[in-house]
Symmetry: C2
Subunit: 184 residues, 2 copies
Amino acid sequence: MKKRLIIDMDETIADSLSRQLEWYGRDASHDVTPDQLKGRHLHQFVTQEHAPMVRAYPHHQDFFHDLPLLEGAQDALLKLSETYDIYIASAAMEFPHSFAPKFDWLRRHFPFISPMRYIFCGDKSILKADYLIEDTPQHLEGFTGQGLLLTAPHNLNENRFRRINSWTEVLAILLPGDQSVPAR
Amino acid sequence: MKKRLIIDMDETIADSLSRQLEWYGRDASHDVTPDQLKGRHLHQFVTQEHAPMVRAYPHHQDFFHDLPLLEGAQDALLKLSETYDIYIASAAMEFPHSFAPKFDWLRRHFPFISPMRYIFCGDKSILKADYLIEDTPQHLEGFTGQGLLLTAPHNLNENRFRRINSWTEVLAILLPGDQSVPAR
């Protein structure tokens, strides 16, 4: 039996931060770059006055449409799918509008993963697998397999979990003998 | 820490069979009762000509709206929620139209369960809990906790799992010392 690998969506394979920064630039006429966030979410970085607006973005029904892919995610998952059973788990219950666009996005960008392996949930501690790749430390807390924290601007100060900085690094860890994976 | 209990939706707490029989009666002018099914799904009971029509019902966007509750489910879950952490897991990925109506239905009928504990998935073997209550034997196959098969017309011939015949019986098993639960 193949080992099981659960992979998060937002800021793990889908670049939801770009959408946040894009909308904030539009609404506040203030360009913020990921480098400026330094361990904070955008709503923690902006003024108190702007924070509620930023927090509301993912509740808007257009937020999750056509998000860009995170660099290297598509190729990495295709390669990993030869060795692992891949599940995609998104904490989508907080944003019920996101169900349809998330489903369509996964179908379009990851046609090699069956929808039977999509999971829309809230609390991920109910999931069981060998690995969980996540940008959100809270979801790694209750996980009983090996958690891998994918670096994102908001989690730079987190040090409780094994950190990975890119999808190339994920491949080097999870497919160590694969000659087609660039060495770190 | 409370024990965890995962509960399925269709034919476990939501009476999706009633909707199927209702639509089949409307489309085929032929009334079928649950008693006639005797170990079969409706699509296995009807003529070969009608089977594709019946199989298509849950793909229709109106199918999951306002499904009736299964008898005793609402009271039982309220009572169980005092002792267990309850999660609701539905194999909804097969029917993407069902996400919104299922979410709304759960909010309406089970307001005491947080949406953070809803799970829309496909393959349930990725879930980990102490108990799983299900009408579908396939979902109990890969479950590592205690599986409980809730009797439904389609599963009458299944004998691999501990069978429960009603929500009253579930309470007698899971809340054995509770004086407010009627004895079997």
